[in-house]
Subunit: 378 residues, 4 copies
């Protein structure tokens, strides 16, 4: 277990990249949704040649908690949308059947899902000793991306203690982004990806709700920043080796992306599933095209309602009207786009197994391109 | 029945707007997929005050045929993806169960689906007199968007003769775009939408396949052209009345979009469904965000295979490997984006019921914005 | 338009066939769910040789209304489940997206769906003159089965006037069953099928809710009555020609079945979708096996809640808890099974096109088999 | 790790219970599908009072292998159908996206899924050292049911060595059934459930294909044996405490069921998904009604085709025609029903944690009821 120290790299808005029409919340983070907490545990050790099972490890785990209470006892409405099922996330089927989320959401690497899910079960049992004995079992929710280019993914280096640390370290307030937690070893659009977050708060006339998004970015495509074709300009994009320069290094097309959406709007399962579906549109704005091997899973939950584990069903609630969903949808699109940008901007270069390097995007070069296309807000 | 004469408005590439990394086919049209044919019948009559059931009519029907033979007898693999089910398209469930398309695909307006589907059944029966008597019934596939702002949509002015004309007028070669056929009365992103088409042909090293897309554009959002925030610059975008200028005219958020995808790659139902799912990503690049009332349905078919109505199952076929799907997915994204742009560029201003006007986007103004953002290819 | 006069054939319970463990409501009908109304219009004319487009007609339309008010203005929660998508039902996608039902549900024959949907749109427009003008469009819900063995299905003999008659004739109270309305020309398990209904009322300790089911039965398999292998005993079942007697007449394997479920339990879309899914289990008890060409669609709605067309979202409601759903599920299974039995018992023999005869099951023979297997309740 | 010695209890056909119209294969087992292998590892230790984490353990793991080769390198077409998503199975999303199965299928208990999935990943890595390094990751497929009434389910007693033993012990030929492997601690319809299997071989005139089913039975309802209401007759059924005798012991309504279907018919993903959907109908014949907390997951694969991990896509194949699917569907229904009966008949009484006893059904009593209802074949 290791905490990467990193130079202070900027978020998108700090360098004048200002996407979308709605305004972010105070932190421009998923934690702008009141009650939501995020924690990371970075697993980073060893270097040099890959010794499967030993290292180097460039991975981790990230937790998102819908509230600070006992989520198993006080569930929240939840839903999942699978855009491309080529992934190993667990817990989504039950979320969609019961309409509820009853554990923290954990993100990790692909081959580590089993261990992480098991640790999450254990963590829940420690807090709810009736699970599987006098009450039902628990449905752990774990997402993943493939960080095997940098990480000894066969080693499944995320262990119980890392999971517990990520959950117990979860807190409200600013969220650490970039090459941290479950984003330690991920790559995105040819550069270093990782964890990113953003939020939107709707105008009062549109409901005034907050929508927060956290992404674990690890996908291929053609990097587009606020509409500017940065990937093409910088010569790093999907299929360049087939189109422009057959000697160029192909970028990794596959990978995956996890998007976690929180809102304080009173929304039920059906509405949350609609919210989750819109995450793909935000990703598309950054250059995502849903490549074959990309497992793209989107989860959404509402903090406005609690569904008691024991009890008489859903609480009374005036849900958002169907007609009023549209602005929430656009908020999801915008916050997802910006969360991906933040994940890349805040990410630091990582040298991983076999000396593989995934570079953080060069901010100066990026700004040059943005300026060229008339796109910096002062 | 009426053919709109229109000034010659340009397609995107004709004015230097060149999106994506792959190259279009010769016609930059769905008809670049060999065998595919498109036909339109425009229904345009009356003017002035709306008299429900009388007019004015600003609507029509568009047909897409996978080949020139008898599609009921020689079906093609087909699939549908529902992004937002808030729409009235018919025939999708059976396409997804049998994995085949067995009629021309027709597009029309929302309330006209019943009459158009019925006419399509009749057209098929005329060519296959055993339908429902000595063989199975036929599954008509009809998509729709709501053109009620311009059109007397209650009037359901598309009748059997229009349907037959659209099917029988279908032909290979260049496709008429804009305010024509099923696009006559549609609006998109605050301007006039309509029918648009585009294509991509993959490099030989990626399979060399053609992918063609035809859209019926009618949705809300923030117009983005090759990444440039045109809608914001021109002051016409979603929620402007809530954000910048409460006296501004709200644009229509709802509406819908139909996307029809054809490919000559040998693809089965499962693969086509994956193709169809990527259409949303192309729409997202134009400013689409999947508003509540937008019924967004995507259909895909392959012309490389034929499934005989009577017969022993699917023909022998070396399907595209899963790993080779990615480039096809990006082709879908790019062609969908460009088809939307073409639908708007080629569309002409239409004055409809109650004097409602939906303006075609002003090309000169658009070009000014594109230039400002460094985005015109010479 | 024609009302079949029929001898009074019994329902299952009237001859001692008593399936399931829960008790039916007073009418043992979908109309035991307070407010639900059912109407039929039978279209029966001509005889002898089939003249496509002329007749004979052996078909019709059946309407199910969730309440006596304006359903477009006061929608109810609704959901659809597609077991086998090989069918042409319309309106299901939007029900599942918006979570609401906003029209009467109509049932008819396969090729008539277009005309019937169009007539339903017209009926709604007559009562809501703002549809598509100053408010959204309307989503007609129409199910179907293939009655082409008896009926001139190409003729699409159900017209607007029949649709209006079926809706306007809808009433609470006992429901006419058998060869009536949309069940006029249907066949089931080798005998005459048609419309059937049944209900269950849960004990107070399980919530006390009513669940009602109406089926349009038209499927293949091996008739099983309260577990007794009646089809085999009477020598009429799927694949008999392949197994026992190659000279026997094959029964029609394909066809379809529509199941409409109503409940007065407060249930939202997600819960109703779960209810709808259980219909297949009730069908299975009667010998249904989901043959290839059987379009099996299940719709469910709740009468306990109203969602205003204009308004602030879902009303306050204490929904049924997930844990309390189980008894409702079993009620659906039981009422579906019994509704199929009633559809066959109440059906009368119909002679249709080309002299095709589909016999009603012989009650005396059936009772003999039931007695042999110790299955009659006195 | 422990092998339960058990008296020799009979399978259904051995005592004259002969369900369905099609004939079983030679072994009446999933292993009648050539190449399929099954292995079990039973984990059974301790007794008396539950000490969470210690025991007693009444659980295990069962493996189903589609062929004896390296399944990761030579995948088979596969599909999953979720009837009730209230379960924790893993690997289904990717099966449905890629259309392939690339690992053995493992069954275990609910809380053990993480450990078992992790062990399966490890087992695959040991045989494919390029996983996640120079090729893609692997998608482990694991199903589960809740055996917590008998088993110390919190203890997650199934460990890596048990998983490896179950996979490596897999073999063709007769399959051990009942309280063994993943069925050690399961309960069904008020009695002891467990592992059961059955098969059907279609007549040559219907294709001559074999269909095999293996179930892990653990659900609630009203036991029905070949249509006979055994559960009611023996006074043990769902809701008896609400209906007949409020002092009766309620049976466990929840639980789950896993159904694994194999066929040697050449079927692709879409067709296998249709096959899998029919499993619910076979379950329904035994009294299953899909209770709220029952996670009901059905998996299907074809042994007729191989999809190479590296390679040019799906091999040439004449797939089964849609029209010829129906007989396969009925075979699934029948084999599923009989597999459940075998699981209960072959199961032995198990005494578990806290002295909980789940009795095997009494064969003599069962036969008395069957005789009473005229249902024994001589």
């Amino acid at each position: 277990m290791y905490c990467v120290s990193e130079e202070r790299r900027p978020r998108a808005r700090e360098i004048g990249i200002q996407t979308g029409i709605f305004s972010p919340g105070e932190l421009n983070s998923i934690t702008d949704v009141s009650g939501v907490m995020v924690g990371h545990c970075t697993v980073f050790h060893g270097e040099g040649k890959l010794v499967p099972g030993k290292g180097p490890a460039r991975t981790g785990v990230t937790s998102i908690l819908p509230h600070s209470g006992n989520v198993f006892r006080e569930k929240v409405p939840g839903a999942a949308c699978v855009f491309n099922g080529y992934g190993k996330s667990v817990g989504l089927q039950q979320m969609n059947e019961t309409g509820t989320l009853e554990t923290p959401i954990l993100l990790t690497n692909t081959l580590n899902v089993g261990i992480v899910a098991d640790a999450l079960v254990e963590w829940c049992i420690e807090r709810n000793d009736d699970i599987g004995i006098t009450t039902s079992t628990v449905n752990p929710v774990v997402g993943e991306v493939n960080d095997g280019y940098l990480n000894d993914i066969q080693g499944r280096h995320v262990r119980k203690e890392h999971v517990f640390a990520a959950i117990e370290g979860a807190k409200p307030g600013p969220v650490e982004e970039g090459s941290v937690g479950a984003g330690t070893g991920s790559s995105c659009l040819g550069w270093k990806g990782g964890i990113g977050t953003s939020s939107r708060v709707l105008p009062e006339s549109l409901g005034g709700y907050a929508v927060g998004v956290l992404v674990q970015s690890n996908f291929g495509g053609v990097l587009t920043v606020d509409g500017v074709p940065v990937g093409r300009r910088l010569g790093r994009f999907a299929y360049r080796d087939h189109l422009e320069d057959s000697s160029s290094e192909p970028i990794e097309e596959d990978g995956s992306v996890m998007v976690v959406i929180a809102s304080d709007a009173p929304l039920d399962h059906r509405q949350l599933r609609r919210l989750a579906a819109r995450a793909s549109l935000g990703l598309a704005r950054t250059g995502f095209y849903g490549s074959n091997g990309s497992g793209d899973f989107f989860l959404a939950f509402s903090t406005a309602l609690r569904i008691p584990h024991e009890g008489a069903g859903m609480l009374n609630a005036d849900l958002v009207a169907n007609d009023a969903m549209s602005a929430l949808f656009l908020a999801v699109v915008e916050a997802t786009e910006e969360a991906v940008l933040n994940s890349m901007l805040r990410a630091t270069t990582v040298v991983g197994r076999d000396g593989h390097v995934v570079e953080a995007i060069n901010i100066a070069e990026l700004l040059d391109v943005m300026r060229e296309f008339g796109r910096l807000v002062r």
